[in-house]
Symmetry: C2
DNA sequence: CGGGGCGTTGAGGCACGTCAAAGAGGGTGG
DNA sequence: CCACCCTCTTTGACGTGCCTCAACGCCCCG
């Protein structure tokens, strides 16, 4: 874990701020783009709250195939594990500020953690439906709607991650992701403002496609 | 919820028995094959421990496509939710005995529930890798290994669910499931003892295929 | 012994993956 | 400030693994 502690506190864009009373003034660690926050097999014992930036949680197969199980944006919490070992990798996608909450041995924070764990469980199970039973257009539509909701439901949505990340999250190749984006653009459902920023033009059409 | 309370307590085949001290003597409810334990949208407020039989947790798309997010065998616990509403359906696959633990309002059982929620979260995230990045043979191999481990690691594995259930769990059609079973049989990796019972002949080959 | 659900097998099609090449940003150094 | 370069993205042509549609087989239970 190679983190630089930030000298000043940067503002959080959190849409759902979560406060933990066990340690009110944790310092913020800064992780450069692409840097590792923790690795699979590493000892766990903390949890993390994104202050700014974005994080990807993933797992690898021996031949390099990658599945991103979750993205975490500003305000969201991640990193708690079933046992004392991390089962996944966590990396900063862009320059990312993370508040690290070390769990003091003996401390019981199950009350705070349980709702977060349950929310994560529901999210993961819903994502199973996407990966198991939806086609490429439906996957992208569901992804865009989810990203829009997590950014406050605005029409303009920032995508902090690459096409490769999106593909590895949705179980698709970068080419398929790119082609579906183009098809949605041609249909007038979305506009590509820049490579990492889209505008949802026809919210209802997108909603219909995601079902 | 149409359950018949069992008149006698049947033995659990649990490999990982879990005991909750909040209510030591819950009665067992019996659910016939195919019956609903709870439905999506229903009010939550309990959790469930399988005594015997098997349960499927699933979600539906509007057009009937189904994704089973988890199977629960004897000894396993399910049914806790992030908010007060169920996000999934739960059905008995075969005749199934379930111990229902109602959560008294105000009671704090987060200490007991958190490890279960975290284990479920890890399981779901690992299943995401299977659905997102593995092909049909790898999915079936991983499924059989998982079922074998959960039944004590024996060579003979009981599959309480239909091919359709397996397909809806692995994101495959029944035909593909059946074809992969046949290919594994032809290769001598497994033997089909009956439709719902297989023997793992080459454990190591199966392990290799699942990676 | 007969019916019905579940499972298996085959033939053909299609959605997505693979391979390849060109295009678009954006970051850096001159 | 601009030009270059590197990486990411887009687009096209083609291949293939799984799905779809169809028929048959096998249990299991009456």
């Amino acid at each position: 874990m190679h983190a630089h502690t930030a000298s000043r506190i940067l503002p959080s864009r959190s849409s759902q701020p979560e406060v933990f009373d066990l340690a009110p003034l944790q310092p913020i660690s800064f992780f450069p783009a692409g840097s590792e926050i923790y690795a699979q097999g590493e000892k766990a014992g903390a949890f993390y709250q994104v202050e700014f930036g974005a994080v990807r949680i993933y797992r690898l197969l021996a031949d390099g195939r990658r599945q991103i199980s979750a993205f975490h944006l500003a305000g969201e919490t991640f990193g708690f594990e079933a046992d004392t070992t991390h089962h996944f990798f966590a990396e900063a996608i862009n320059g990312t500020g993370v508040r690290v909450f070390r769990i003091a041995s003996g401390a019981d924070i199950s009350r705070q953690l349980l709702p977060l764990a349950l929310k994560g469980l529901t999210r993961a199970q819903e994502h199973l439906l996407v990966l198991g039973r939806q086609n490429a257009i439906e996957r992208i539509a569901a992804f865009l709607i989810d990203m829009a909701e997590r950014q406050g439901g605005l029409r303009q949505v920032e995508l902090p991650m690459s096409r490769m990340d999106i593909g590895d999250y949705l179980g698709l190749t970068i080419e398929t992701v790119s082609r579906v984006f183009s098809r949605l653009k041609d249909k007038g459902v979305i506009r590509l403002l820049s490579q990492r920023s889209i505008e949802i033009v026809k919210q209802d059409a997108l909603q219909t496609m995601s079902e």
